[in-house]
């Protein structure tokens, strides 16, 4: 589903940072991959390269067989197939919850308003906030907002979902409800790449864990491998700090 080969990304402003260094990995359809690593190790940049919010400097990225770095690719079409959930939710504050979930369906997928509304209501029910459909995002708790953001991404019927620290901005008591929604999604067979510090989630749901440091993939393995006998010193150090 996702094929990343030898991707490099360097930021030159404000200072030169090698955010991604020779990153290669594959994610199969239906697989859940959790990306962990210290702050500034390039996890967000890796995720953002997958839907071209960030343009990789070199290398290749295929999403469902489409070479997204090719000049001939319509990137908007690719992005419609790749859902993304952000740490800071990024809901549209001027739209109601329902409108947040219908907007891109109508504008991008060209669905009729009634079809989009029906789809949205189904998804809001699935993430447990159907009774807030008419509210504005500011009137919702963080956990509720993040679940709306998940519904908004799912409304496009994506083939892949990317999560960039979806629970990091949440109060502890709200983390569970968001993780539950993500677990349900994983059970349904959604292909997911999740950047998170929630090791419980990784242990329970991940098929594979990727550890990144200084822009490079240092270690890849099953959750069992990671939590029982990690091989690299840097992985051990990181895990000892967060566990």
């Amino acid at each position: 589903m996702i094929d990343v080969r030898n991707v490099y990304k360097t930021f030159r402003v404000p200072e030169e940072v090698h955010a991604l260094v020779d990153v290669s990995t594959k994610v199969e359809a239906g697989e859940v991959v959790v990306v962990i690593g210290p702050s500034g190790s390039g996890k967000s940049t890796f995720l953002r390269c997958l839907n071209h919010l960030e343009a990789a400097d070199s290398g290749h990225i295929w999403i469902d067989g489409v070479d997204i770095l090719s000049r001939k690719t319509n990137i908007n079409k690719v992005r419609a197939e790749v859902g993304m959930v952000f740490q800071s939710f990024n809901l549209f504050p001027h739209k109601t919850v329902l409108e947040n979930v219908t907007l891109a369906q109508v504008v991008v997928r060209k669905r009729s308003k009634s079809v989009a509304r029906e789809k949205a209501q189904g998804l809001l029910e699935k993430v447990g906030i159907q009774d807030k459909a008419g509210n504005y995002p500011d009137q919702l708790s963080g956990g509720q907002q993040q679940r709306v953001a998940i519904a908004r991404a799912l409304a496009m019927d994506p083939k892949v979902m990317l999560f960039d620290e979806p629970t990091s901005a949440l109060d502890p008591e709200m983390i569970g409800e968001v993780l539950d929604a993500m677990k349900a999604l994983a059970k349904e067979g959604m292909t997911m790449v999740v950047v998170t510090h929630e090791m419980g989630f990784a242990r329970e749901v991940a098929d594979r864990v990727i550890f990144m440091d200084a822009g490079a993939i240092v270690e890849v393995g099953t959750p069992e491998h990671f939590f029982q006998n990690p091989t690299h010193d840097r992985t051990k150090l990181f895990l000892s700090q967060i566990l």
């Binding site: 908007n76 952000f86 907007l103 891109a104 997928r109 009137q139 991404a153």
Partner: protein
Amino acid sequence: MNGSALAGYRSKANYYMWIGIFFALIGGIILMLYLATRQIDYVWRWYSMPRYFAHEAEIEIPAQVLGTVESITPEGKGAVIRVAEEDTDNVESYSVPDRKEIRVDDGDFVYPGDVLAIYRKWRPGLLAQGMWITLKVSLYAIVFGIAIGLLGGIARISSNPAAKWASITYVELIRGSPLLVQIFIWYFVLATLINQLLLKWGIPEISALWYGVASLAFFAGAYVTEIVRAGIQSIHRGQIEASRSLGMNAAQCMWYVILPQALRRILPPLAGQFITLIKDSSLLGIIAIRELTKATREGITTSLQPYEFWFTCAILYLILTFTLSMFVQWLERRTATP
């Protein structure tokens, strides 16, 4: 508000005393102005002002031929007067709107030009006409100014150097010279040029009013460009990323996500800009557009009542600008999310 304003005063009576002093102050200034004008024998004639807003005009219906009034037939409130022309079979008929104002009788002999009847009709006065032109010019200029400002603002933040530099050049050019000079350029340079070209191609020429509108719209547009740019840049980057990650293209993201949020934020500075525009439209009198200020000056020439006219003129501008700011406040409330 009121509570906190009251808090600093020992008593309610004290508070109202100061309100009384405020009105006494205003009244005192008006009285002093009045007494001063008495010293120079200025005669205030406010009673003659209403007719500059609307007056009843008398319109005469003259006979076109030499002949005899053959018949006067009532018709609704009016009547039809028939005049048989002398020495021919020709009978002319005239519709008269008001039967009470007929000035001839059956059988009267009339000459061409004799008044058969008159009627009265309300006509807008000089100041009403001037205010209408000011309103019209301002509204057109505001609409075009918004369009120009939106395009300019979007171009300004574009990564395309042609669009970006065009926007910067436009803003700097407009903001760097006086509006008066720009009005002259529009009227004496661009208007002559364009109208002569149009004449050459056989297209009717464009009136001064539209060059006035253009000068105001392009002037305000430069400031609106800066306001729009600031408004767009004030929207969090995450909004762009969220909409683009859903597959929206740049235009869809701008139209459905960024602009609605930015517009709400820029309404207050936009209102200020357009209030300035309404006041600036008073300069258009110099290119023969009879807006409110020019109408006022014409009124003074014929009436010799400068004091009444200038005060009235100022109040009329105040009404226009106040209405606009009320409208924008209403818009702000209406577009606010709870």
